[in-house]
């Protein structure tokens, strides 16, 4: 039983290592999906938002984590 729990925990941990980062990634995907699918704009605009949003997330989440560690 504990083995199955460990496997499930590992699987969840693969994608949700940091809950805030995962939520932010999903939010960027959601905004991109709305732009690509729910507006008159070219879906490529949604793709561009996805790309830029993810690039910014990498930098911002590292900065935020570093500041948190330094303030401890």
């Amino acid at each position: 039983m504990s083995l199955i729990a460990e496997v499930l925990k590992e699987l969840v941990g693969m994608f949700v290592g940091d809950a805030r980062l995962s939520a932010a990634v999903l939010a960027v995907v959601a905004v991109s999906a709305v732009v690509a699918d729910g507006t008159q704009l070219d879906p490529l605009v949604g793709g561009g938002i996805l790309l830029v949003g993810c690039l910014l997330l990498v930098v911002e989440s590292a900065r935020r984590h570093a500041r948190r560690v330094a303030q401890r």
Binding site: V7, F15, L21, V25, V29, S32, A36, P43, G47, V58
Partner: protein
């Protein structure tokens, strides 16, 4: 015929990501073998590989039934979650915010823990050793399976990506058999950084295609995305280094 420009990123990503995972599994299997001999280590490893094979055989055919757009979207989002997480962690390690992964330390800790566990539970050390090897190979192997499926399924590249992963396994086994100690000199964080860059690029590419975006240049957009994520990762390292003294 699969174009080299299409297959190379998938094979490269699967090879490098698998290299990282297999090195981690190898450290634990070696700890088991050192403490209790190769028999339980090999048995645990072989059983885990059989379970992984069964998972692939059971789930593999289902992938063909999922519409391509949906498959790209789901796998793309999972790749983004996985890849950006790896890239961020590698950037934080490179910046000195969190400690580097140390295979020698993990080897020593795993050996001590296994020994203590056997004493505490009065259980057979061989059984615990086999179970430890099984868990290590299964858990790291699940990540390898996901990566192979994720970078290969969207373009029918499962076999080349699988070959990349197999190549990594064989390389680690060959080097591990030769040196007979944890592969602590593998530049694991640099590899993780590179893999995070590649998986994030694949994630944006598949998710965008799943949302209907036709990327300019088709597959050639992937190397451009990789360059952009490399830049973002390096910027993250610099920003995290600067944030440390600022906040202290």
């Amino acid at each position: 015929m699969i174009a080299w420009s299409t297959a190379a990123p998938a094979v490269g990503a699967a090879f490098l990501a698998s290299l990282v995972e297999v090195v981690e599994a190898f450290t634990i299997v070696l700890a088991v073998a050192t403490l209790r001999g190769w028999r339980p280590a090999a048995l645990g490893t072989a059983t885990a590989l059989a379970v992984l094979g069964a998972i692939v055989l059971a789930l593999g055919p289902l992938l063909g039934r999922v519409p391509l757009g949906l498959l790209q979207l789901v796998i793309g989002v999972l790749l983004l979650l996985f890849g950006i997480g790896w890239l961020r962690k590698a950037a934080l390690r490179a910046a000195g915010v969190i400690p580097l992964h140390d295979e020698d330390a993990i080897f020593a800790r795993e050996t001590a823990e296994l020994d203590a566990e056997a004493r505490r539970r009065h259980a057979s050390l061989a059984w615990l050793a086999g179970l430890t090897a099984f868990k290590a190979v299964l858990l790291e192997g699940l990540e390898v399976v996901f990566i192979v499926v994720a970078v290969g399924a969207g373009r029918g590249l499962l076999l080349p990506a699988g070959a990349g992963a197999l190549g990594a396994c064989l390389l680690v086994l060959a080097v591990g058999a030769a040196v007979h100690r944890p592969l602590a000199r593998v530049p694991e964080n640099t590899l993780k950084f590179g893999v995070g860059v590649m998986l994030s690029s694949f994630g944006v590419f598949w998710t965008g295609e799943g949302l209907g975006a036709a990327w300019p240049g088709g597959d050639l957009a992937l190397p451009l995305f990789a360059l952009l994520f490399l830049g973002a990762g390096l910027t993250a390292v610099a920003v995290a280094r600067r944030a440390l003294p600022e906040a202290a």
